[in-house]
Amino acid sequence: MGTAGLQPAMANDQLIELAKDPANWVMTGRDYNAQNYSEMEDINKENVSQLRPAWSFSTGVLNGHEGTPLVVGDRMFVHAPYPNTVFALDLNDPGKILWQNEPKQNPTARTVACCDVVNRGLAYWPGDEEHAPLIFRTQLDGHIAALDAETGETVWMMENADIKVGATLTIAPYVIKDMVLVGSSGAELGVRGYVTAYDVKTGEQRWRAFATGPDEELRLAEDFNAPNPHYGQFNLGTDTWEGDAWKIGGGTNWGWYAYDPEEDLFYYGSGNPAPWNETMRPGDNKWTMSIWGREAETGEAKFAYQKTPHDEWDYAGVNVMMLSEQEDKEGQMRKLLTHPDRNGIVYTLDRTNGDLISADKMDDTVNWVKEVQLDTGLPVRDPEFGTRMDHNARDICPSAMGYHNQGHDSYDPERKKFMLGINHICMDWEPWMLPYRAGQFFVGATLSMYPGPKGDRENGLGLGQIKAYDAITGEMAWEKMERFAVWGGTMATAGGLTFYGTLDGFIKARDSDTGDLLWKHKLPSGVIGHPMTYKHDGRQYVAIMYGVGGWPGVGLVFDLNDPTAGLGSVGAFRRLQEFTQMGGGVMVFSLDGESPYTDDPNVGEYVSGEDA
């Protein structure tokens, strides 16, 4: 028992240590800072034109392939959309599938997924003296499973979400100490959001915290929001709702996490309130749409800042959290959190106390808000671009798909720039009344979406942007238009390169200083995941998943034609099918395409009498 108390801290440190080695990519954003940044400079501006495919792997399923593989030592762990099979590949001979774990799921789970049957990734726990390392997987049908990283055997599996009430799981699990965090999905079906921590070894629930409702269920610390009482503090999880509407109030978290071990705080965003029809839920609808700082050990919230009080546009606030340490305008070193939200604002907070440092529009065409007041924290709404019953609001920017969505972006700590994959989509929106029935969709709005003012509305193209953003000055070092939304996120390297995948099927590398396009490669299908990089046998590889889908791909994936179908995305992405079709796999690149097989073509060959 005496040593058991020490193990959590050790496991925690192990993940930090593993992440320092460029051989590994042990969690969604590479390390706890979630910067998607690599110190490696083997691949750089000078030689990126020699980047070639080294090897590839098909997952055997279609639909959207979000997230990125994990690499630990000699192994790559690959997740896939429904039915969420996990593969372990041998990096010394990637043609060899070391193990695969395919869960049996109730196919009904597919019917309550709002936005394709995607999954955002795996998590890894390094193990201890008594327990082998584990891979964690969420399943669309609501389960969280722990798999033996060596053998792929299921060690335990727990129920976290019930598809009968419309609750599913698409989020990647996240390991902190000896706990695995699991988020939630289903605000489009009125699911009240919650985050849960399980013991990595046993699956025992440690704590659970909701996004709406009574303070005990929100799990607020005694000094919650004490540094910023004007953000609101107690009883607001019920007081900012009429009656029991908070019970079906959304606020699910299906985005990404970041963690600061010194503060023992992890950070994430809660999603949109339900339903989309704003008239049916008067009030600020706290604590949906909020940036949370929670103590990992207890789950207690130290601070929360609501970005979009009383949402009227489905600006689900679950986007990526990137941590950095930078000098503020007064020259004071600050521990920061930067978060590009769906609502078109990039928020930067002091991550120790929630202080609002900056809140800039990621594009000047954002119109629902005139500005965010840094002293009050309030967004000054422009009533002209709000939504309401018996009214068709037009030309609202951003659209419900946001100027930024689920893409996991990156931060270059040398250049002090955030590499933002941005959407350029606006919309018309008309709500309608509907009843709530558990397990059925609870949206209540009809949308029409199209390119923003800087795109080509007539031809339905020019739906994306990529920009390098400075969180302190608020300036964009460079900005570039893209044909489609940059949905999958970005990765920056010390080689001065910013990598990202596009919906029309390319992986691209831009100059991090100028934004110039230096290299690209045509992949089998569009990309909605983020690039990753690792070093194996002294060689730097860049890997990315392909397989178009997600919300922008629902028209293509489910063969829909009504422009308002797919929650309005079908119209916006009507041209996508002219550039890509479905796919599913991982493509791995290196300089000159070097791999274990170019080193020696005999690697992996059949040898009579050998088992493998």
């Binding site: 609501g142 299921t154 060690v155 335990w156 599996m157 727990m158 129920e159 976290n160 019930d162 009968k164 009430v165 609750a167 699911v191 009240r192 919650y194 046993t202 699956g203 025992e204 629930q205 009482p229 004007h230 953000y231 609101g232 503090q233 607001l236 007081d239 900012t240 009429e242 009656g243 029991d244 509407a245 019970k247 079906i248 008239t279 049916m280 839920r281 008067p282 009030g283 600020d284 706290k286 609501q306 009080p309 009383h310 007041q373 009050t376 309030l378 967004p379 000054v380 709404r381 422009d382 009533p383 002209e384 709000g386 309401r388 019953m389 009344m433 009843p435 709530y436 029935r437 558990a438």
Partner: protein, 103 residues
């Protein structure tokens, strides 16, 4: 001053939509919602009353309680036996809704 400005806003909202809900007039810290001109302060009893069925609203909470209970049995059984069993009906002593024996 606060009362005056509130009255002023209320009077003007009817004529000029520019003074409509802009999110900056707060009843209390963290509580800044206002009805839009022509829309009710409370939807109950109005034409926008969602008329939620309390039985439907309680289903999610019931589902979580049931899942947590099954999970507790799974954890208990693994601690007892060292083997993981997902199917709770195969766990000796399992009763639906009952709590696993104290260790």
């Amino acid at each position: 001053m606060k009362l005056l400005s509130f009255g002023l806003v209320a009077a003007l909202t009817l004529a000029t939509p520019a003074f409509a809900y802009d999110g900056t007039n707060c009843k209390a810290p963290g509580n800044c919602w206002e009805p839009k001109p022509g829309y009710p302060e409370k939807v109950e009893g109005s034409e926008y009353d969602p008329q939620h069925d309390p039985a439907e609203l309680s289903k999610q909470g019931e589902a979580l309680t049931a899942m947590d209970n099954r999970n507790a049995w799974r954890v208990w059984h693994m601690k007892q036996s060292g083997e993981f069993e997902y199917d709770v009906t195969k766990i000796p002593g399992y009763e639906e809704g009952g709590t696993p024996p104290a260790e």
